[in-house]
Symmetry: C2
Subunit: 223 residues, 2 copies
DNA sequence: TTCCAACTGACAGGTTTATGTCAGTTATTG
DNA sequence: CAATAACTGACATAAACCTGTCAGTTGGAA
């Protein structure tokens, strides 16, 4: 676990909020600079809010981070209700905070309407290692919202790279990986993609509308 | 990443909520039973709510799991406020849910009082791999609350096993690892322990009180 | 333009990790 | 009691990963 320990050390070094050069960190931890660059990749991929700037160095944006949480449906309901109430508050800062928190939670839950108990059967599980496809998530989410078709380069588990046009419907966190449920125009069927296996996404100008048989509600995971 | 893929597959197999024998999973994924047992360990260590029963098989308890979340201090405040409001609600189910959510969040944040902006400078970072010391966390938390001294077997990074009596003060999540800040009676000083490196904890009958110089507020991480 | 330091890709080791096999033990059910 | 299936430990081998080295490129600031 030497590497793991080093990653921990790097976080400790960075948490003073000051600038640090990769070279300095490398000297201090007695590894090569190259290794530090690789470690920074790992940290970023793991969600540590560290930022590097060429010619400058590394810094962390300070934030509070919650580890994976297991909630019951009732707790989630309480959470949503609470945010709705606070969002009505007079204090503009609190109002904004409540709204953005609600958005974050929303973003992280199945995009499906967040209420029916049935939905929770397809629950999400904590894990983490692959926040790999992180970069793709923003465009995917916005495409789901705006009902915009996507061009997808997807590397299947067997290593084959495929190109498809899809209607993105639903994102889900499986703890270890995020998945994207979509209607695939190529296969004319529902497909679930692992976001960490997506090579590239680009939004297409084409929009899509609800068509019977192509909606999320028509999708039967067991089928 | 073969192993990672298999772990994902196991979750998918288990998520039907039915019983599964290790042997069946092993056959289906074309690995040995031994490997499945090891995988189950990994899943449990990663927080997946899977349960094995001898002579029976494996099942998952269904739950909603939130991935690591980055919050601003304002968002956390909104969250706490929201839960406090909902906890006053008439509906007993909602009340209970709000209370337990508040507890969960509380349990996961620095044990230090959860309000001052300064506190957040020692933020927590998401990660995950080592939820190793998970089992120790409950006794440690309760010892912090009840101000009970702990007997600690701690394996230092250099591999040396040490025994100490400590006053547990504060737990913190660093994304990759949890840490325990404590007053160490052996060294007569503050020490930060990584919970994943703790071999064993046992609560001692002895209680401790606030003594000048031995309180969390006397601890200067930079010193 | 030059300097700086972050970044990237490739490659050859060395080390670590994962896996299967085997030989057990333990808790539960009938 | 026997049967079942989860669990554990040890060990050799194979596969994956980590690391340093080297030779670049990129973007910002002076």
């Amino acid at each position: 676990m030497r590497r793991t320990d080093r990653l921990f050390d790097i976080i400790q070094i960075l948490r003073d909020g000051k600038l640090h050069r990769a070279q300095d960190i490398a000297d201090r931890l007695e590894v090569s600079v190259r290794t530090i660059y690789r470690d920074m990749d790992t940290l970023v991929a793991s969600g540590v809010p560290v930022e590097g700037e060429r010619g400058v160095g590394y810094m962390v944006r300070e934030q509070i981070t919650l580890p994976p949480l297991n909630l019951t449906p009732a707790e989630l309901k309480a959470l949503n209700l609470g945010m709705a109430i606070v969002a009505e508050a007079a204090d503009p800062d609190l109002k904004t905070a409540a709204e953005s928190l609600a958005d974050k939670i929303d973003a992280v839950l199945p995009t499906q309407v967040v209420a029916e108990a049935d939905t929770w059967k397809f629950a999400v599980y904590p894990f983490a290692d692959a926040a790999r496809g992180l970069a793709h998530m923003a465009p995917i989410r916005s495409a789901i919202k705006s009902r915009q078709k996507l061009q997808l380069s997807y590397r299947r588990i067997d290593g084959v790279l495929t190109e498809r046009t899809i209607r993105p419907l639903h994102m889900e966190y499986w703890g270890r990986v995020w998945t994207l449920t979509a209607w695939c125009e190529l296969r004319a069927g529902f497909r679930v993609f692992r976001i960490d296996l997506i090579e590239a996404v680009s939004p297409l100008p084409e929009l899509f509308t609800d068509e019977p048989g192509k909606r999320l509600s028509d999708y039967d995971p067991q089928g």
